[in-house]
Symmetry: C2
Subunit: 338 residues, 2 copies
């Protein structure tokens, strides 16, 4: 059974396809009578416009590509959800692609999206990405690009980030207020701005409270669970142990928590603990983990709105940077003072 086209409608009404097309698109030069007739017939024939055909004609696909390192991290999944909410409202569909933090895969993905003729790309950059030619390729083809969370200033594009500096600052300030003085920090060696910013927030908070910065308390790793374990073990070998750990990722903090428990070190009694991202599991841990919420769905909304603004803008659009405020979530893992 064939799907109905505007030609079928036209034939049935003894008019031309162009009239049908105009009628369906509410063109002012078509009489109301014809419009109604066409709409009615379209219904009868269960007509559904062929997006492919119109995509070809007007060079739009109504598809946007979203690239995330991994979609099974709650943060990214929620941002994607936020993007979808906005996109679906205006007939756009979202293609989700995962780079798995692998640079080559990210490059391939960008190229695949360009080949698929997406109308634009929203991306969060992989941890191992430090050259951006693939994204520049998209920009040069006139494909709008908006980055969120894991962004870079090496590209002239709009970006939406949270104030990682502030989030980290608040965590460290909170730890200090709980009486901690030797606060360790798990960070990433990668040139990803979010981690650099959190590191800055950590350092600045220490300064602000006149707490000496001690390089041996900063451990760089990939910030996964196992990394957190290793980093914590390393810290425990120090003569002068920390009394708190602020990890740039919840997974890293989780690894630390496991190690501390294995060593029968009290949390937060001996060592307080805080993570970053408010992954869902953080409220399930024992003790529940202090962390920073990033309002991820909202971030997705904002990112999508910025994206579509740029998509509509005909001329050269000035890249915008939106900075969202994070929220410190205090849970037991850091509550030394009840």
């Amino acid at each position: 059974m064939q799907k109905a086209t505007i030609h079928h409608i036209a034939e049935k009404l003894k008019i031309t396809a162009s009239t049908v097309s105009r009628a369906l698109n509410d063109h002012p030069r078509i009489s109301d009578a014809t419009k109604k007739l066409v709409q009615k017939t379209a219904q009868e024939l269960n007509y559904q416009p062929n997006n492919i055909a119109s995509a070809l004609r007007n060079g739009k696909s109504y598809l946007i590509g979203v690239i995330v390192p991994t979609a099974d991290r709650s943060f990214f999944a929620s941002v994607v959800r936020g993007i979808e909410e906005i996109a679906n409202n205006i007939k756009y569909k979202v293609i989700i692609c995962q780079s798995y933090d692998i640079f080559e895969k990210e490059v391939l993905t960008v190229d695949a999206l360009l080949a698929a003729r997406v109308d634009g790309i929203i991306a969060s950059i992989g941890k191992n990405t430090d050259t951006f030619a693939h994204f520049n390729r998209a920009i040069m083809e006139g494909i709008p690009l908006v980055l969120f969370d894991r962004t870079t200033d090496q590209l002239e594009v709009s970006q939406v980030v949270i104030d990682d500096h502030l989030g980290a600052y608040q965590v460290v300030e909170h730890l200090i207020q709980q009486g901690c003085r030797r606060i360790a920090h798990f960070t990433s060696p990668k040139k990803v701005s979010v981690f650099k910013e959190r590191y800055r927030g950590y350092v600045d908070a220490l300064h602000a409270y006149n707490i000496p910065f001690d390089e041996e308390l900063v451990v760089a790793s990939n910030l996964q669970l196992e990394d957190g374990r290793r980093s914590m073990e390393q810290l425990l070998t120090l003569k002068n142990r920390p009394d708190a750990v602020f990890s740039s990722s919840d997974y890293g903090a989780m690894g630390a928590m496991q190690v501390l428990k294995e060593h029968k070190i009290a949390i937060p009694g001996d060592i307080a603990l805080a993570g970053f991202s408010n992954e869902p599991f953080t409220s399930f841990t024992d003790p529940p983990l202090t962390t920073v919420d990033q309002f991820s769905i909202y971030m997705g909304n904002i990112t999508a709105e910025l994206f579509f603004e740029q998509l509509k803008a005909t001329k050269n659009f000035k890249p915008q940077k939106t900075v969202l405020k994070p929220a410190l979530i205090v849970r037991e893992s850091s509550m030394k003072r009840k």
Copy 2:
């Protein structure tokens, strides 16, 4: 700057677009010399085929729609990853859509995918779905449909599931071997086969070991964290409390764990605990949660392979049902005997 088309290549080489097209598609009637020349020129002009145009011509979009209740559950995210692995290998792109377990949203999504002219749909049915007209619409349009995990026998389509009965049976058998005799079960009131199957596995294991079935030990809910909490509180009001809880979802088990801790009830000492799905957080809980792994990435692979098999099959394809074996993962929450 315009993107190169086959016409640009043709013009440059003083041949026609059809020759270029055939050369690029390695048509036997084109001389090797021409083929090489065309390929070289294509490279030079950085030609990328316009998928939209070829989609229109041969009625294929190279897009497949994947509908999941939510993409931020590790199980679904991993299945999607498994699907993507296969799909991307053969130039297909995956559109991920979330139904959020809302029936209306699921219907809209199916229709949107049909309108987007996807080449097929892979779906896991929402919890609240009990009529299937929307999926039948896809089938009638000749769009291949494959279901995974949350499936139904009311549709004549291929499906990939794990043996939920076996998984549940193994959990309950394990609990019995640990000495538990009053094993409670959290299930869903919904007509979702996975939960029905797990319930059957629970009942059958009890039977097999001559343990009486007690209706008051079975609690139906939505199986989220809060539901698990409520269900556990309810069980604790019984005169004759259970000595184990097997929840059909890890989140439900997590809720139970929180309540038990609040009541200072030892896990697994007083009450053993087991979930289902092997969500990542289950290894982070204290104690780590016994659960069932579903080999989700593999499930995605299998699902995609079945899907593409069906897509290639020209004639009426006989729906197949693939059943995968799950794996019991024993952790401390159920280890009464060390």
